[in-house]
Amino acid sequence: MENIETEKPEAELVARAKIGDHLSFEKLLKKYEVQIYNLAYRMLGNRSDAADVLQEAALKAYQALPRFQGRSSFGTWFYRIAANLCLVLIRNHKHKQVPISLDTMLSRKGSSQEEEKTFEIADWSHNPAASLANKELHKILSDSIATLPAIYRSPFVLYEMEDLPVKQISEVLRISEPAVKTRLHRSRLLLREKLSEYFEHLKK
């Protein structure tokens, strides 16, 4: 019975969920919840806010389903609801978003030129530890993304992890395309610095 239910096409699940069938809605939720939870986690930087967003998005989607006309797929529609909730949260916390100057970003490693030079020569890109199989590195990278300043994190997540084009990100975040690119570039430089600190520490 369970298998037969699972094979139902999405349109039928949506039709059933529209008239209040929790079981069908649950199947739809199961299908998309991981993607949405991860979008929220990466956009907001913590699991607690991500859980709140997934719950709120699911409730909104369930309540708005009778008005869902199917112009986009259910997944896209649900995703958009969640992305908007994330953006509202981010905008509400705008006062906490402090941009980091490039100089601050690039001059954290010691004050002497010699120290920086030594540090910069270390190429860890082929180091066997530079793999996500390395649990420590995995955690450092996840934490580094989560703790990027929100103004950098949102464009980074939308571009690198959600594959949205720059134009769409500029519309979603209401900033210019060059601003999206600048923030993207800075977020990558910041993350590289974080990983380099780890490899520098490994050498000691």
Binding site: A15, H22, F25, L54, W124, L141, L191
Partner: protein, 102 residues
Amino acid sequence: MVIMCRRYWISFPAYLEDDIGPDLSQILKRHLAICPACLARLETLRKTIDLCHELPLLPVPDELHRKIMESLPVSVKLTSFTMHLIIRKSKMRKREKKKRRN
């Protein structure tokens, strides 16, 4: 050397995406050929981005999934037979509508 190199660093992300003009691209290429420190910086930047793409997705905790389902407004309990009738009726309505249009 480091101070000289600094001005190139900001262009590395765009360089990796091939999103810079040909002139700057040439300048960077020439510099990278003679500066192992900058080349290392570029390669580690490339590796950082690759690692980000490889990050696996977090699973949704079962408890959260349960909590969401429990928080949904309670609707009229529909038996599968009633559900079947409703769906069939809706499909028939759609078919009739299509016929009328034709």
